[in-house]
Symmetry: C2
Subunit: 329 residues, 2 copies
């Protein structure tokens, strides 16, 4: 900055004013300074700015593995929303779900130059690790837990699961089986409970639940058990990736989809439309979740506006070819 000031023949303060588009700078001076900045390749030093202003214009995002489709899409949406709002993104990976890994991620974050944090890991994990974030640091949790003091943003899991289950019941299935996500996930928990409640509301029996871990491999493994059971005519799967594994298990067993078994997924990942058959699924609007969580966090940062109602972004049922009335007996 001093160099620019010298070249332009002004003081550092004037350079600062130009860099920040402050008023009260003569047009000729401004042009001269701009030219000097360009000539010297001047870039404001963000560390000094942050030190001076006390804000970083940066938000931390804590993630655990980018394997799951939903997390990835949400991260993408968060990054875009934050950029639009003038915030940088500080990505903090948690290497595994052990207590020490989570704790050390939080410690790292405490030292990071961030004004606030969005947590993209399933909050059960946090419980177990018993970690606390640095106080006074604004936080938003993208999850479906109601157990936190922090603002929460997520898709409306309850509504989505109900949509899926009722769609299958309306097609005439006696009941709907469930291939759920990992018990450590609040989102999975919500979907499972809502599925169960929907069945009860309609007076149907609730079959045992099979659990996966979101991966298609786990869906395949649980799917083999489901495929082997002739009573199963309709399955609500907690995400599309596991649904893919289930489809494979059904094929291997020679059970046709949707003629013998109907399958509904959750997420509407881009590939779901091209599964065979194309998958009926519950669409989550990840961009909206990302946008809303950034909005909530920035509100917190700017206003100290800590307590506000959880945001539940609605989902939508996308009907394709993997669902049909049950086979005539």
């Amino acid at each position: 900055m001093a160099d620019v000031a010298r070249v332009a023949g002004v003081s550092g303060q004037t350079v600062s004013r130009v860099a920040n588009d402050r008023l009260n700078v003569d047009a000729a001076t401004r042009d001269r300074v701009r030219a000097a900045m360009r000539e010297l390749g001047y870039r404001p030093n963000s560390a000094a700015r942050a030190l001076r202003n006390g804000v970083y214009r940066s938000i931390g995002v804590i993630v655990f593995e980018l394997h799951s489709y939903g997390t990835t899409r949400t991260l993408d949406a968060i990054a875009i929303a934050a950029t639009n709002r003038g915030y940088a993104i500080n990505l903090v990976p948690v290497l595994d779900v052990s207590q020490s890994a989570v704790t050390s991620a939080f410690d790292r974050l405490g030292e990071q130059a961030v004004d606030g944090v969005i947590i993209l890991i399933e909050a059960h994990t946090l419980d177990e690790a018993g970690v606390r974030l640095p106080e006074r640091l604004p936080v938003v949790v993208v999850d479906s837990s109601a157990h936190y003091d922090y603002p929460i943003v997520d898709s409306d899991q309850r509504q989505g699961a109900r949509l899926a289950t009722e769609h299958l019941l309306e097609l005439g299935h006696q009941t709907v089986w469930h291939l759920g996500g990992p018990p450590t996930s609040f989102a999975a928990d919500r979907r499972r409970r809502s599925w169960e409640q929907t069945l009860l509301d309609h007076g149907r029996k609730v079959p045992p639940v099979f659990d996966g871990d979101w991966t298609s491999t786990s869906g395949y493994e649980a799917g083999r058990a489901l495929a082997a059971n002739d009573e199963v005519t309709a399955v609500f799967v907690a995400n599309d990736q596991m649904a893919l594994g289930l489809l494979r298990a059904l094929y291997e067993r020679g059970r046709a989809v949707p003629d013998d078994v109907s399958v509904v997924g959750f997420d509407d990942m881009e590939e779901a439309a091209h599964f065979w058959p194309p998958l009926t699924t519950v669409r989550q609007t990840f961009t909206e979740v990302g946008r809303r969580s950034v909005d909530a966090l920035i509100a917190e940062i700017q206003a100290g506006d800590h307590r506000h109602a959880p945001v539940a972004v609605p989902t939508e049922l996308v009907i394709r070819k993997s669902t049909a009335p049950p086979p005539a007996r």
Copy 2:
């Protein structure tokens, strides 16, 4: 820091020494300072540190959409590798591929607190935008272009495409068709050229290429044309997602895989093993690509070690059920 010093009854300098595990601090003093830090919830201010030390211990990663499987996995690997090396990750999304978007991303980055940059967008885009990075900023490009002054790290596209093509030829197919990635991608370009060269090396005719944009939807669309052509008995697809779309198109046309048509993908995404049939594909070791690019960048940062040979991480053919000898005629 001043508060901690007061509580512990020492000078700020001693607090600094304790915070940085410097030698020559009395054990009793150290404990006292540690206690004070805990009591006050002291966190070193990273902006001040960065300002003082002139380094940020942070690297920027420029990405364009996290839709593609490979980019996502590589980003994950980069984040983990960087964390292990003590670097934070600054994620800089490029909103679209227009020149202005790319330029503004680079500008933002120039102001970011980063010691170096990893570029995860396909470099053709950079060409078109005609942008230059701030000088003196270490850069690594994860791509297969040879056109850059920057160190390059990527999977060995050439070898992977040859593996796939030769596998199909060895099964007895007369030739191999290709469903390629977007022409704007160097990686897609490399795969296409290597496929073509392999066919020529074996004295086979080179069929026309179909292009997609990495998405399964584009694979489906191009796939319909391929499925309609009875001459097609073997297809090498430039990624797994498009291969999924092709599989769907083949089903719709009533052509069996692998009995009528063999298909090989590229990436080995987790889902590929559960496609129907399970997909033969070329496995990329994304973790290795991520790790190597972080290593290269840190070497550049620390040593000013700018020019070093491109890194080509080997790939591996994973044979599953989507490939078989051609149908007897």
